[in-house]
Symmetry: D2
Subunit: 479 residues, 4 copies
């Protein structure tokens, strides 16, 4: 179960591989093995991707890796697998988001390649706008591709630009690639972290004894008892090697653009990103929603798990008591058999179920973090009504998603985005709620007050950090 053969449909051209992922890296100056810390770190980042996991390790002379489909615990289900990677004191790891139909071990990361100066391993969170374009240019110059990963384009550029110094090659690569990227790169002797100039995806620096650690979220540090030092700055390259840690700041635009959805639903509540507690941002969102929505109700409930915190905030602000309205089955796995011969639509009740005794006869405020296609919301509202809820008021702790994401979140096409083609009132009618309120974007930005960064709000208002159309075919001349 922990592995699958590599099985792939390589389309002739132009397949896109959008993804939200988690990355981690570690360098122990004292020479202690890092594989176990990487395992726990990845495990703490599991919410960022459940499709595949991988760890690459260097013992200073060569790089060994293991990657496979499935959860971290499945990929490394046999202790032997982790042990076989050896005692390397430099390593990186990656978890990948599951997008339908792309379950291919060939696309798992880290990507390990040999290049002129030895071997490098790369783990990437984000999405490049111009990866396909650069890939095409490279291919026209005779380069072959073996994966559908943006990461392979990055590896090709670094290899092509490499002189004596990989950092110089990374700097040049950053002049070519446009989009979101938080990268952890390893050579036989170095650990390198890179955050794109927009700072779209998070990346943080930590310390555990003699070791430096780099990870997508601070919760990975907590998992192994490491201390959070600071977030990487947009456009920053951090290099850890025998001489210790050094930072290179590349040119960046005046304003950064952290993806605000990291706070809405993607990151873990116990993480702190660019100065803002995810938990706090979600509670704030609930409070602000309460102020703007002002619905009368008997109880406030949240869709588990990501909207619970906002629901609690709502309750605190509104004074309406918080209560659980939905029970969630915790045992959701990759291998769930979809209903086929079912007598009636069991729908969403397999994963969620209404708490009849708790909602019966009540006017329920139900907080959710977002509505994408609207189908799940419709089923949840119906389920609460069947359980006897007198009124169901759906309050969303973010604005309507109207535009696609080009920076690493796998949003559906615009036709499937219910927010793109319907007014709020139309959506309310479709999902069958008594009320539907979204959090205005101004309020959403208030939830992250105190942040040391700016925010990307592209999916709400198409104000992207980079114009996708302008940069989709961006590529400075390659000699």
């Amino acid at each position: 179960m922990s592995t699958r053969p590599c099985f792939e449909w390589i389309k002739p051209r132009h397949d896109r591989m959008p993804e939200e992922c988690g990355v981690v890296g570690m360098y122990d100056a004292g020479g202690a093995p890092v594989s176990e810390a990487l395992y726990y770190g990845l495990y703490a980042l599991q919410h960022r991707g459940q499709e595949s996991a991988g760890i690459a390790l260097s013992d200073g002379r060569g790089i060994r890796y293991h990657k496979a489909m499935g959860l971290v615990t499945e990929c490394f289900s046999e202790g032997a697998t982790l042990k076989n990677l050896g005692n390397g004191s430099i390593g990186i790891g990656h978890v990948r988001y599951s997008t339908a139909g792309s379950s291919q071990v060939v696309n798992a990361q880290p990507l390990v390649v040999r290049y002129k100066n030895g071997t490098m391993a790369l783990a990437h969170n984000g999405n490049l706008i111009n990866a396909q374009h650069i890939r095409g240019i490279l291919e026209r110059r005779g380069v072959i591709s073996q994966t559908a990963l943006d990461t392979e384009v990055i590896a090709n550029l670094i290899a092509r630009f490499s002189g004596d110094d990989i950092v110089g090659a990374i700097r040049r690569t950053m002049e070519y690639i446009r989009g979101a990227y938080s990268l952890v790169i390893m050579t036989e002797t170095q650990l390198i972290g890179v955050r794109d100039p927009g700072g779209v995806r998070p990346l943080a620096l930590g310390r555990l004894g003699d070791a430096y650690m780099i990870a997508s979220e601070s919760c990975a540090f907590d998992a192994v008892g490491a201390d959070f030092i600071r977030d990487l700055r947009p456009g920053e390259i951090v290099v850890v090697d025998r001489s210790g840690l050094r930072s290179i700041q590349t040119e960046t635009p005046p304003q950064s653009h952290l993806c605000i959805f990291e706070f809405v639903y993607f990151a873990r509540t116990d993480s702190v990103i660019d100065g803002v507690s995810v938990y706090q941002a979600r509670e704030n969102a609930g409070r602000l929603l309460a102020r703007s929505a002002g619905v009368e109700a008997d109880m406030v409930s949240g869709v588990p798990d990501s909207a619970i915190t906002a629901a609690i905030g709502y309750s605190k602000e509104s004074g309406i008591p918080y209560g659980e309205g939905l029970a969630k089955n915790r045992y959701v796995g990759r291998t769930f058999i979809q209903p086929q011969q079912s007598r009636r639509e069991t729908g969403v009740r397999i994963k969620l179920n209404a708490l009849r005794k708790n909602v019966q006869g009540k006017r329920v405020v139900l907080v959710d973090d977002s509505i994408v296609r609207g189908t799940t919301s419709r089923k949840i509202v119906e389920m609460l009504r069947c359980a006897g809820a007198r009124e169901v008021h759906m309050l969303i702790s973010s604005p309507p998603v109207v535009y696609p994401c080009f920076f690493g979140i796998d949003t559906p096409d615009r036709e499937q985005l219910i927010g793109a083609r319907n007014s709020v009132e139309q959506i309310r009618a479709k999902i069958g709620a008594d009320t539907l309120c979204y959090l205005p974007i101004e309020d959403l930005l208030k939830t992250v007050d105190g942040a040391v960064c700016g925010f990307c709000q592209g999916c709400f208002n198409s104000e992207y950090p980079l114009d996708p159309d302008a940069f989709r075919e961006f590529c400075p001349p390659l000699e």
Copy 2:
């Protein structure tokens, strides 16, 4: 991964196999296949046991089954496995609790045996006090055992007592066995539910179109859209066959003894057992705890997931705002690699992590459902303090567990039960909390007000429904 070979250490004698499990059964009078509903039903009962799962199906002529180690979704990870069981319209299923070291597919259920009148399959939740004794008597008469299951003893007795009618044999079997048992039994043509005279374990009856359904908890009915009809009565046998449903009431003591821990932490919040909503009971527990404890604090938090509801009740009653103090990693699997080379005790932070921003500088009331050994509680308290909590008040929504359970819950030996050898003050000191309060047993009983049953409180006060010592060697003469 979804299956393991049968691998077993059969000790010469007297090994005990305590367990909490989930059972489900279905009979479709219209002849429709039941395998899918059983799958979803088992999946809804997954919280009752994660070690192994199995389904047995009858098409009216023969019984086919599949059982394996792992979660329901792992055991039936390939749709083909479920399909291979065929279109039988009678079936039963079982999930089993994982107790360390007993991971043996030979002990998975349903147990399928051939006997004089054909084939029967049995799924059992509970624990018999006198199973070992009866097994010994049977062995002395030449019977062989192939598993360590109480269920095998039950199957032997039913087979031995069988005349023309299996119901008569079950009635006679009930005169011999003592302890807790909720049984779902299937022959080629019948589905039978049995609840022990003490009513210690739950068992409920539901209906979906032409089909009757029997399950440990009502949430299994919700999962497939079935309607809850009623709980089986203590001592009741329910038979479903071509002639429909009939009930046989065996003799029962005046008072029943439902395990109150089903409400404290075992059952799912959306289930209703013997007239009481699990959710309601837990919220009540929190409220009563607030009244009896009366701790001053800035926030109330619960240990996820089972104590969240009580914490919410506490908050409502006390007026102290509810907030999340701990984040839980949802991706806990069977194959988690235990820390070995770790630099420091990562402890419980891998599965739980404090929400620093939320607890910093605060006086925190932390609600948990019970304390068994005390080690986890100590780590959680320490974690909250490290995260900056000014005070940590531990409030337990049940009384101290002082005595072992003989009726299906796998409690440790008394030496390991922290409540058995320490005063509340000693426990408080050991776990390092500022306050430790337990819910008094009188209050716990109030949480289930309105129940149509009595309750077993043996683990709190040794008032068991049956004296284990008196009945451990109970066995009426076998002809």
Copy 3:
């Protein structure tokens, strides 16, 4: 791959489980571990059964076992599996023949059961005539069955008859069971070998240093460097324990009935059974066939692998040069995908292929060991003709199989036995050969000249060691 979940279709009654299997046992008086020798011993007996394999080990206090579907190397593919069985110095093992449709780990052996005096493990080669009958009687007395194995009936009888002494119980059991059985039985402290009074299946005794070994064939001794001591006598029980080895001779009929098919094709050529070399018997068969058939030809060839030796004998006797006419693909596995969309009947060419250059223009004598259904023979003849053979003379090194086997070989029903419903001339026409000759039974008996036993020839002439009809319902009174 090495394991499958237990998946079974238990028919209401009377399913038969015919099988040819291999058994091995070992007792090391010096206390040395025996698991590795059992593994190699089983591996040497792999030709006797490829469906499942298992090993049970006793360390003097308890019995541990592992069994799974597949080849020995698959079942124990991870060294850890063998290691986990521990350092027991008593052990038994079993390989089971693959009969279509019965791939069920629940029917794998050894069968390990608890009974009044502790635990016993049984490994069985052979088939009982009256197992179903006794099973029925036991079931009427309340016994349950969990497998379809004759071995379970034997275990029940031994358990039922056990007083202080298992040997007495085995003796009594032998008074009840009728048919073929070579048994290796283990308790926590004893290794026991049993051969049925007819001596139908082989069983031999060997020695390796301080250890005694029991095995179906002597090649298992060679594999571990053990010395062959002697065959067990028909009706003999051999017990190895702390006091060393002792033999109990039970009553036997004047003549024994070793299955002559062991020499025709079942046993390995390097084994010696009851005084006769399998290799020698096969070469003799070829020589006698040459004398009786007297076909003129240019080359003699054998169907690989089992008929090669007879073909060589034929060549030696006739002076016609031996040559290979067919190449065999050695990589036949359990998981071979059957042709579905094939353009033409690829037939048997996937496993066998004619050596065109060698047979072209030649008159070919093709020796095979037996014809069962005739379909394979027809394809082979056709293949040789397509490859240019001028004449194809099919010579069979045994008489026509006309009757079913009741003693452990899985022969098809009489309707499918081509020999049962056709004259030799009709068969010749059906398979398309120029000549078809069988070895007369008198000659077959000459091939095993020097044997210390008699032979069962039931499948040729229905002269069974026991009349199946007379004993199918045999069962002395059970108290």
Copy 4:
């Protein structure tokens, strides 16, 4: 078991990946699916490589593939895997030889890559002398490597040279690469076969209805009922597409150099390569050995399986009767557990065992195809002596292997080649034989009389088709 995660130790540089493999390709002009024929074709070539297997399929628009560790039947053990590849009517397949320590799915073939004109898949049998050198040059120009395969170098060159026409790119690639290569290449719309100018590895063309087939050996055609058309000529490129089949002949040296070891032991006896029957060549070798050796003996035997045919030839020529002296265990798998705690050296007896009854007291001529390290030969001689052979005369059907192979066979280093450092008399003494004779090289060449090609005899006399030292760093200028 059929798959393993990709797990790899990428050494910093210069690891060599010598291999003998099997390739197959098919193009069905009628649009019929080819996956099943490829499966059976690969299965027929299984003897050429047991480490991994893979199939890539094109439906005219895109390429799908599956590859995994293990035998063909293991990699495609689930029919679904083959079905998931779809109904493509163009496809190629590959089986790979197992060299110790390189069990890495990343090195399995076919290699599927995207390049400027779409996607191509490559399957390669052979070894390039200058692959490492070209890889280095490519890397210096910025190319990255993801595997250790020569095939990746070939793919890079083809991609780099590709204009409109892949055939032109292949022709240019052939000007760069030096060594042995039989290639099957597929684009979305073409099937291409390439044989190196030396013709070192075999490659043949066949036909089945509307389909062309290309395969390493003709036995792959027989397996699916296809007709052998002809061998590819050294330096020939064959292209099959919508317009049918066309052949391009590139420049070739006057003499070709087919690896003569294909006849000695590598190919299957039923194959015909470059006009010579493998079977015939082996029988000839035995006959010539008999003429040159002239040993007096009582029986002739061969080491199974590859030396049996030569032994039969020896017998025919010498008149000494052929007999089996050794029995072979047919169930050798990848997962065999090596002896650890063994009491004595069980040695080679697990896979081979002497037929005592057949060799006892006899003077035995034992024919083997080659001696590499000598350890196995020593054990076999000893085994025959233990079994009572009076004399053991070892006759080898090829000359001593004295030099390493650079063209695709994984020979050990010269220090381990017993023939490289010892006289024939010294070797005889080391292996303990009474006689040791090798077949002189002149005689070996006679065994393949009638061949339409020349032969590489480099391992015997260092007369390689290309001087490895001269070409190891060969690379014409890359623009």
